[in-house]
Structure formats: C-alpha cells, structure tokens
Amino acid sequence: MQTRDNFNITHSIFLLLGGIALLFIFAPLAGMFVSVNAPHLFEAATDKVVGSSIVRTLLISAAATIISALFAIPLAYILARKKFPFKGVVEAIVDLPIVIPHSAAGIAILGLISRDSALGAAASAVGLNLVGSPFAIGLAMSFVSIPFLINSARDGFAAVPVRLEQAAETLGASKFQTFTKISLPLAGRSVVSGLLLMFARGMSEFGAIVIVAYHPMTTPVLIFDRFNSFGLAYARPVAVIFVAVTLILFIGLRIYQKRKW
C-alpha cells in the first residue's frame, strides 16, 4: 500500500536529483554572466564585428530553417502516415546528423561544395565560391539541425487522428486540402516547436561551420576565435552577449508560440 510518507520521500528525492540537473545547466551560464568584466562587456557590445556576427548568425539560421522546412515537413508527414519498406533505415538516416561528430559533418559538407564536386564546380563556373560563403554556413546549420524539425513534426502529425483526415476527405477535401486545413494546423504546435529547435540548434552550431566557413564569422566561431587569439577575458563578453540575445529571442518566441497554439 502506498502511504503519504512514501509519496513524499520519492518526490523529495526526485526534486533533489532534478535540482542538481537544473543546477548543472544553470550554474556555468550564471557563472559566465557574473564573472564577465564590465569594461570588456561594454567594449564587445559596441564592437561592430560582434554585432554583425550575431545578425549574420540569426539571419542565416532563420533562412536555413525556413528553406529546410519546405522539405522536412513533407518528409515528416510521410514518416508519420505511411508504411513502406526500409522505413527504419530512412528514420536512422534522419537521425544521423545527431550522432555523427559535427566536425565530420563539416568535412562531408565541404566535400559537397568544394570545387572538386559537381555543385562546387557548377557554382565556380558562374564565378561563385561556395566554400566560406553564407550558403556554406546555412548548409552546415541545416545539416546538423534538420533532424530536430523532422522528428518533432513527425510526432505532431502522428498524433493527429487519421479519422479527422478521413472525415475531411468524405467532406470533399483533396489530400492537399486535408493536409493544409486539418493535419498541419492540428500538428502546428509540434511543427513550430521543431522549427524553433532547428533554428536554435542551427545558430549554436560551431563544429561543422568552422570547417566550411571560418569567414564570414558566425558568433560561435567568433567566440572561438577571440578565445584562441586573446584568451578567456575577451571571449567571455561575446559569449555573454550571444547567450543573452538568444535567451531573449527564445523566451519571446516561446511566449508567442504558447499564445498562438
């Protein structure tokens, strides 16, 4: 028989263990904020290189997320609704970017866009060098973050009852109308969560980007560059500003998401 005491002890232990997990996430970030040198922080905040790297990082990640969504959302729907041979293999491929080292992902993308490749050669023929371009950064961001969108959207679509889609069809809706008017709105919360996760993961990417495009610098690469060239005291203010900007942005987006969905 379960007693009130047992219930409380279990939950107290969970609270303690959960608190440690929370502290593990929060403490290093809080430490970074409290130990930042104020003049250095001011200097970084007014540094045009820092500002432009943050804008670049946010814009490229947003563009990469929106463009990837055109391909990721249909794939997520197919994975949620259809049975087909080797579906497990397809799902494993979707998860690959999560499990492989991101430096290896960078090497793979470099192979795709270098001048030796068909894509790189085609771009070179019209005078474009893809390596070291915003395109390369976007590609690296998309590669490492697209599984978050596909998986979240797939779970959202899977949770929409098939009955509702069938009902829409008996009421005259085509498959596409059923998708846009029923499936997508009902999976909206998961799809938007996936978009936010992908956006967030993309802009925090370092390992793959540093291989395909050291310049122009995204903020994670700039933090690494400042640390390598000038040390912790100069890298920390940039990190603090970037974390603060992303935190404000994501709290705002989450509030918007909760109100709308």
């Binding site: 009955r163 509702l164 069938q166 009902a167 829409a168 069809e169 008996t170 009421l171 005259g172």
Partner: protein, 212 residues
C-alpha cells in the same frame, strides 16, 4: 439508389463479402451486427475510404467503385464524430461548402438552415471541445449533410452517448427519415433504431443477410 454488386474486401485476416444489396432512395436502412463483424468496414467501402478487391458500388446509377472519397455523393457520421477541434462549430459545418468553393453568402445561409434543422443555432461560435456528446452528434450530422449527399452513412451514431441523451439523439435521426434522406445506419444494438429502420440487415463475420 445505392447498389452494391458482389463487393469483396480482404484485410489481413478478415474477408468482407461478397456483399450485394440494393437500397431504394429515401429509405432508412439499419445494419446490425457484433463488433468486428465488418459493419464499419462496409460503410468505409461505400464512402471510398477503402477500395474493394472486387465488385461495384453504384450510387444514383453511376459507378463510384474507384472514385476517391472526396468525389462521392456520400456523407459520413463517424462513431467518434471526427469533428475538427481546430475549428468552431460554424467552421466545421461550413467546411464542405468552403472546400467546394461556395461564396460566403451561400455558406452563411446553408449553415444557418442546418443549424436551425438540428437546433444548434446557439452553438455556432463554440469550440468543439466545449460541446456535450449530444451536441457533437448534431453538429456532426449537420456537417455531414452540408454538401447534400445522396446517401448518409451513420457509424454507431449513438454509441458515444449516455443513456439519457439517446432518446433525443434518436429523435434527431428521425429528422433525417422525415426529410427523405437515404440513410445507412450501422449499430451493434438492434433496439436503437427499431422505430426508424425501413429495412434491416444483419452482418456476421463479413457476410450480410436481410432480416424480415
């Protein structure tokens, strides 16, 4: 008129049919049978949600056997009503009208008439999750009739309702009979439509037989 000619459908370990029957326009047809006997499957075949392995589905003298669900003159009331939770009651009923490209004036007029017919005028602005079981049934019926189907399929329409709501719900179904709507009503409970049905059938292990 609904005519099924030797309809055969095979699922993994279940075979429905061959089923043949002819239902005259304006009749209220009841199909009884235990769970798993293939009643709902038969409705889904007529609605176009399942494609039979053999046979023909003729509605109003046209062959609809291979026509997709969206192009069939069929309305369906699902067991759980399948109302769209992302829309209001008005938008649910207006859904088939919007899909078929009707203008706003026609939509407002038709939704208003259906709401009056099923006494749901006061519910039109409500969200689906704010409705009772009986209200959901009436909204789902209004929606299924909005595109004026030749035949209305009812899949266990009373099973989700509490006992005290069933009498009212049966009265609502009586409206359909009075209006001359062709109805196929499947249920596991024979008593539920004994006053409504003009002809009855029994379904057992995928086979359909008339009941006198």
């Amino acid at each position: 008129m609904v005519k099924l000619n030797n309809i055969l459908y095979k699922a993994d370990d279940f075979t429905l049919g061959p089923v043949s029957l002819e239902l005259e326009t304006g009749g209220y047809f009841a199909v009884f049978g235990p769970s798993g006997s293939g009643k709902s499957m038969l409705l889904e075949i007529i609605a176009g949600l399942r494609t039979p392995a053999a046979g023909e589905i003729i509605i109003d003298n046209s062959d609809y056997t291979l026509v997709p669900a969206r192009k069939r003159p069929v309305g369906m009331l699902f067991q759980d009503y399948a109302l769209f939770p992302n829309m209001s009651v008005f938008e649910n009923i207006a859904f088939p009208l919007r899909i078929s490209g009707e203008n706003e004036e026609v939509i407002k007029r038709d939704v208003g008439l259906l709401a009056e017919q099923f006494s749901i005028q006061t519910l039109l602005k409500r969200r689906i999750n704010a409705l009772s079981g009986g209200e959901k049934q009436r909204v789902a019926l209004a929606r299924a009739l909005a595109h004026q189907p030749s035949v209305l399929l009812l899949d266990e329409p009373l099973s989700a309702l509490d006992e005290e709501l069933r009498d009212d719900a049966v009265k609502t179904l009586g409206i359909l009979k009075k209006d001359g709507q062709t109805v196929i009503h499947v249920t596991h409970n024979r008593n539920e439509v004994s006053d409504l049905a003009t002809r009855c059938f029994r379904m057992s292990a995928g086979k359909l037989a008339p009941i006198d």
